[in-house]
């Protein structure tokens, strides 16, 4: 599945391209120098050309939950390296190093809280964790997230940012596609909203499962979104791919994405969408509602 990952430096989390350290950064969109604090104040969107820098999972959740606050779920789940996989390096060691570098146990954070006053479960992927790849832990956490939304009768948002299934967990990774999709099928039958947000990049087995199953599939501008990676397709057809192929706007044009939304309008668009789909604010605390039921004197 993860065919598309580059052959050269596939495994390092591509941290350099996400939020850079230091005082300023050169924008890959307009080549201008931007101060990091200006970027941070603008949801990591270039104020000059609207280039969307990649967000970490935690930054993403902060940008969506009211007051930037959530209750995290299943934070301790981690892979036990079920295949005892080793390539040029043992997967166990790769995991340990990535866990240390990111402070996360795997490539996803799941939290519940409120979005514009609406109770909600949101899952966000961490690209710096082995390319946001989906293994058994991500599959389990997403399944639990869907089951939690079902139990609490609240909406679910999954923010994808992933190269696809995690090779080092073999077919078990592949099966997570079916597992999460089955859980979403239950949410679907219960008429609870599920919104898929596709960010740069969303490819492979993540796209070919839950990321394409939203009641709404929303993409950030210019995100790479596809099934097969560009390199694999080029090998198949033996020619260069057209410009903009597999970008959000291309998918929008082909009818595969419902809307492309600038990150700065994202939260309000999500709130409007969720309300359309019947999401309602949490009921007021019992005392208050009891008081409201008192007939006016």
């Amino acid at each position: 599945m993860a065919w598309f990952k580059k052959t050269r430096k596939p495994i390092k989390g591509d941290a350099a391209r996400s939020v850079p350290e230091g005082l300023w950064v050169k924008c890959p969109g307009c080549k201008q120098v931007i101060y990091n604090k200006d970027l941070a104040a603008n949801l990591q969107v270039c104020p000059k050309c609207a280039h969307h820098f990649r967000l970490s999972a935690a930054e993403r959740l902060r940008s969506l939950f009211d007051e930037g606050a959530w209750v995290e779920h299943d934070a301790d789940l981690r892979s036990n390296d079920p295949l005892t996989f080793a390539d040029t390096k043992a997967y166990k060691d790769r995991l340990a190093a990535t866990q240390k570098a990111t402070g996360l146990k795997d490539a996803i954070i799941v939290g519940s809280g409120q979005l514009d006053g609406l109770p909600i479960v949101i899952a966000a992927m961490e690209y710096a964790f082995i390319g946001g790849s989906m293994g058994v832990v991500m599959g389990e956490k997403l399944t639990r997230a869907a089951e939690r939304a079902l139990a609490e009768r609240c909406p679910l948002i999954i923010v994808s940012c992933s190269g696809g299934a995690r090779m080092m967990e073999g077919a078990l990774s592949l099966m997570q596609m079916a597992k999460v999709s089955a859980a979403l099928s239950r949410l679907d039958k219960a008429c609870l909203p599920f919104i898929s947000l596709l960010t740069d990049p969303t490819t492979g087995g993540v796209t070919a499962s839950f990321a394409m199953l939203g009641d709404l599939n929303i993409a950030e501008p210019k995100a790479l979104i596809g099934f097969a990676g560009p390199r694999v397709i080029e090998q198949t057809i033996r020619q260069k791919l057209p410009d903009g192929f597999q970008r959000s706007e291309f998918l929008l044009e082909r009818g595969m994405i419902d809307l492309v939304v600038d990150r700065r309008q994202l939260k309000s668009t999500l709130a409007q969408s969720l309300r359309f789909m019947g999401a309602a604010p949490a009921p007021a605390p019992p005392e208050a509602s009891a008081a409201a039921e008192q007939p006016a004197p």
Binding site: D81, A86, R166, L172, M175, K179, A182, F227, I233, Q246
Partner: protein, 318 residues
């Protein structure tokens, strides 16, 4: 046949040549004895080789051009097959076969990838088993037909991958597979999956959500082809042998990991050497799986299917 000989089968070919040479001479009692003994040695050698296949060797067997296709099984195990075509949206994908038939007298729906077998023209016609979005939609449309009329579904999996090309992406290959994963989970009729050849990642899984997953002894099922995995992780597709080892893509490995439920035995020397024997060996496990799933009411079946996929990967969580 020689062109289809797998590398590790060379010692068998040598003995076969020797036997053919003796057989071409005028028959004498001594020569007949010699032929019989060579034949016995071939059997023994083949059994021994196939007992000790490495994962990479299994990949070659699974991809063998004479590996039985879905239609080879249909010919031998089913009656009254009626093929149906197209996704009613765009095209008829020849890499995906759909149709209904009778299995031991009972009406069933069959879906399956088709790589084209040993014939070059057929291979091209079938796009080497690389299905496009319309293939997955065709399969789902056929499965919905089965669902509507309460017929069981048998899904035969054998594909290198979903087709990685521009038109696949344009027409939403990811969406097509995703919808199948979601909607197959909700089918109320029995669904039995047979991974009989190459289970190539999402392209395989796109028709492989069922109540019971059977896997042939020499089939493989993987998140990525070993060559692709080697190219990425070892930075050389030459390391495919190691990658095949590491990926745990064989039937015994996947049985242990809880990805498949049962291993379907093959004739000694692989399903490709005797299609009739391969079909006969599939019949028992397939029939048992189907009757087990059919014995449940729809709600129980749905719940069991959900739990089956729900537990996948639990073995890998600390």
């Amino acid at each position: 046949m020689a062109a289809d000989t797998l590398e590790f089968e060379e010692p068998i070919t040598l003995l076969q040549k020797e036997m053919a040479a003796v057989a071409s001479l005028p028959s004498t009692p001594e020569r007949l004895r010699s032929i019989a003994s060579l034949e016995a040695r071939i059997q023994e050698l083949r059994a021994d080789i196939y007992k000790h296949l490495t994962p990479w060797q299994r990949v070659s067997v699974a991809r063998h051009p004479n590996r039985p296709t879905v239609l080879d099984y249909v010919d031998r195990l089913f009656t009254e097959f009626v093929e149906i075509h197209g996704d009613r949206r765009f095209a008829d994908d020849h890499a995906m076969v759909t149709g209904f038939a009778r299995y031991h007298g009972e009406p069933v729906l069959i879906v399956g990838h088709h790589k084209g077998g040993g014939d070059t023209k057929q291979k091209i016609f079938r796009n080497f088993g690389y299905a496009k979005p319309e293939g997955y939609r065709k399969a789902m449309r056929a499965m919905e037909l089965a669902q509507k009329f309460g017929r069981a579904i048998l899904a035969f999996v054998d594909t290198p991958a979903a087709f990685p090309g521009i038109e696949s992406e344009e027409r939403g290959i990811a969406e097509a597979i995703a919808v199948n994963l979601r909607d197959m989970a909700a089918l109320t009729v029995p669904v039995i999956v047979i991974v009989h050849g190459e289970g190539g990642s999402g392209g395989a899984l796109g028709i492989a959500v069922g109540d019971r997953i059977l896997m042939h002894e020499n089939a493989v099922y993987s998140v990525i082809p070993p060559e692709g995995c080697a190219a990425i992780l070892w930075r050389s597709s030459e390391r495919k042998v190691e990658a095949a080892d590491a990926l745990k893509l064989t039937a015994p490995d996947l049985l242990k990991l809880g990805v498949v439920d049962e291993i379907v035995p093959e004739p000694i020397g692989g399903a490709h050497i005797d299609h009739a024997a391969a079909a006969a060996l599939l019949d028992g496990p397939l029939r048992a799986a189907l009757s087990a799933s059919s014995a449940h009411d729809a709600d129980t079946r749905l719940e069991l299917r959900y739990r089956k996929f729900r537990q996948m990967g639990s073995v890998g969580i600390a």
